[in-house]
C-alpha cells in the first residue's frame, strides 16, 4: 500500500529549543577543538550537560550505562515530549554474538520513554519475540516490552528533497507519522559499506523494492558492486527525517562477516549516545578502526549538511560507569 506525499518538511520539524542548544554545542565544540580545551571544557560542563554532543559510557552494566549516557545529554525528556508518539528503530534482526543491539540497551530506552510519559511507543522495524529472549534480562521487563506496538508493514512513497540518487522512497508509514524516533543501531562491520550504524539502520524502514534500488539503481551488476551509489542512497534516505536521539551499541560487535555473522567479536563495552547522527557514526567508525571519511555513507551525509564528521569539532564526554 503506497501513497505519494512530500515529507521534505519533516526535517525542519525539530524543536526550536533543541536547535538552539545544538548551535550552542557547536560553538562550544569548535572552541574546545582549539588550544583551550582544558579550562573551557570545565566551563562548558558548568553551563549544562546539554552542551555535550556525544556521551560515552564504558562498563558491563549495559542497562544502567544506557540510562547514564542519555542522562549525560540532558535526559530523555529533552528529546521526547510528554504525550507524544515515539518510534524505536532497533537493530534486532540477527542473533549471532556481536550482530544485534543488546536487549538491555533497548529496554533501557523503553524504560526512559515510559518514564518520560510518552503516549505510544512503536517499533518501526519488526522486532521478533525471539530477540528479547536473547537476554535473560528481558524476562523481568516483559510488561514494559508489551507496551511496544509493532509497525504494520505498510509503506508510503515519499519524495526526498535534496537527494542526489534516491529521489523517492517507500518507507514505513509509522516512521513518517511518529512525533519523534530514536535510532538504536549497533556499530559493526557491514559487507559493501564496511561499517553500519545510525545512517545504514534506516534501510530497515524501506520497502524491498526501494532497497533493491539502493543496490541496483545505477545498473550495478551485483549487490555491492557500486558502493558509492549505495552509500549515496543511504545518505539520501536519511534526509526524510532526523532522529531525536541516537543510542548506539558498541559493547560487543563483529569486525568480520558483517552484517549477519558470526564473526570476530570485539568487546569495547561502550554505549554511545548523541543527537548528531553523522558525528555519532563518525565516532563509531573510529571505534571500528576507520577514518570517518573512509566510510562513504558518513562522508555523503556530512556533504548533505546532516552533521559534523570532524570529531575535533565535536564535544565527546566519557562518563564513568
Amino acid at each position: 500500500m503506497t501513497s505519494k506525499k512530500n515529507h521534505s518538511s519533516l526535517n525542519s520539524s525539530t524543536q526550536s529549543r533543541r536547535s538552539f542548544l545544538k548551535a550552542g554545542a557547536l560553538i562550544t565544540g569548535t572552541i574546545i577543538a582549539g588550544n583551550f580545551s582544558g579550562s573551557l571544557s570545565k566551563a562548558a560542563d558548568f553551563i549544562n550537560d546539554e552542551s555535550i554532543d556525544i556521551s560515552v559510557v564504558k562498563g558491563d552494566d549495559y542497562y544502567r550505562n544506557t540510562i547514564k549516557a542519555v542522562d549525560a545529554l540532558g535526559g530523555m525528556n529533552r528529546f521526547i515530549s510528554k504525550g507524544s508518539t515515539a518510534g524505536l528503530l532497533i537493530n534486532s534482526r540477527y542473533n549471532k554474538p556481536g550482530t544485534y543491539v543488546k536487549p538491555e540497551i533497548a529496554i533501557a530506552a523503553l524504560t526512559m520513554l515510559l518514564d518520560a510519559g510518552v503516549k505510544k511507543i512503536i517499533s518501526l522495524e519488526r522486532v521478533a519475540q525471539s530477540y528479547w529472549q536473547l537476554s535473560p534480562f528481558s524476562k523481568k521487563h516483559m510488561e514494559k516490552i508489551k507496551e511496544i506496538k509493532q509497525a504494520e508493514e505498510n509503506f508510503e512513497e515519499v519524495s526526498i528533497k535534496g537527494a542526489v540518487a534516491l529521489k523517492k522512497a517507500e518507507v514505513i508509514k509509522e516512521f513518517l507519522e511518529c512525533d519523534a524516533y530514536i535510532n538504536i543501531p549497533i556499530f559493526k562491520e557491514h559487507e559493501g559499506i564496511r561499517k553500519t550504524g545510525n545512517l545504514k539502520n534506516l534501510m530497515g524502514l524501506t520497502s524491498y523494492s526501494t532497497n533493491r534500488f539502493f543496490h541496483f539503481g545505477s545498473n550495478a551488476s551485483d549487490w555491492y558492486s557500486d558502493p558509492a551509489f549505495l552509500s549515496q542512497c543511504i545518505a539520501d534516505v536519511n534526509l526524510i527525517k532526523k532522529p531525536s536521539l541516537c543510542i548506539c551499541d558498541a559493547t560487543e560487535y563483529i569486525v568480520t562477516n558483517g552484517p549477519f555473522g558470526p564473526g570476530e567479536v570485539v568487546k569495547s563495552r561502550e554505549i554511545v549516545a548523541g543527537v548528531d547522527r553523522v558525528a555519532v557514526d563518525a565516532y563509531g567508525a573510529q571505534i571500528l578502526g576507520y577514518k570517518p571519511n573512509d566510510i562513504l555513507p558518513i562522508k555523503m551525509a556530512a556533504q548533505h549538511g546532516m552533521g559534523e564528521i570532524d570529531l575535533k569539532k565535536v564535544k565527546i564526554k566519557e562518563i564513568a560507569a
Binding site: 534482526r93 556481536g98 529472549q133 559493501g192 551485483d222 568480520t256 552484517p259
Partner: protein, 290 residues
Amino acid sequence: MKKLFLFLQLTAAYISAQDFSRFLPDSIEGWKAEGSAAIYTGEELYRLIDGGADIFNEYGFSRVLTRSYFDAEDRSISIEIYGMNDSAAAFGIFSLITFNTGHPIEFKCDAYAGDGYLLFQKGKYYISLSGSESTKAVQNALIKIGLLIEKNIEPAGKPLLVRKFDGLNYSRIAYIKGNLGVYNVTNLIFGKILRVEEGICLRIEGGMVTILKYNSDENAAASFVNLTRILQNQGTNKIIDSVRSSELFKDDESKYCRILQFLKFIIICTASDRNKISEITERIGDLLKR
C-alpha cells in the same frame, strides 16, 4: 493427472519438511525448545537474515531450519541448519564465513568455533549454533548439540576446484561461486569486475592467493586487463615487472601483488616476499594444469 501430480509434490514436500525437522527435536542435551522449529525457503530467507541472504542465494540456497533452545538458567542457543542445493554450495558458504572468523576445532567434520558460536559443514548442510553468552558451559553445550546433529547427516565430497589444492600449504580456504563472494573475502578487488564462474581464496604464510575462473579464456583475458587497470588506478601501486599476461605490482607499503592470466583462470597473489610470490604462482599453475 495434474491433481495427482500436485498431490505427489505436496506429499513429497511434507515428507521432506518432516525429514528436515528431525534434526531439531523438542529437547537436546537438557536444553528445551520454545515453540516449534521454523523453516524458511527461497525468498523467505530475507526475513531471517536480510542483508546476509544474497550470498546464500549466490551459492544456491534451498531452505533453512531454525530453532531456539533454553536451559534452566534462561540461557539460549539458536540453531540454524541451512540446506543448500548441493554439497559444493554448503562447503562454499561455510568456507566463506569461516575464512575470516573462528578457529578450527576437533570435531567429526570441518568445524570452527569462536566466542559463543560453532559452525560446521557436512554434506549439503551448513550448520550454525550460537549461544546467548560465550561461557565455557555454553560453548561445551554447542559442541555436544552440534555432534548430535552431525551424526544424522550424510557426508559428501568437496568441490573439484578445492580438491586441486589438497597438497598446498594454506591456513584457510574459501570457495567462491560468484562476484559477491569475491567482494566478501578480498579487499583487493573493490570495483566492477567481470562475472566469475567460481574461484578460490587461500590464506598462505605471509600472504593471500585468489584464483578466479571464467567461462572462457577470452573473458579471463578481459578480466586480466580490467584488474590490472584497477590496481594501476589506485595510485599507490607501481608496476615493477610486466610480461605477457602477468604483471607484478609493488605498493607504497612494499607489498607485492602479481596478477596473471592462465587459460580460463586469473591468479592474484599478494605477499611481502617477492620470491614467495613467484614460487606460489608457479605451484598453483602446476596444480591447475592437472
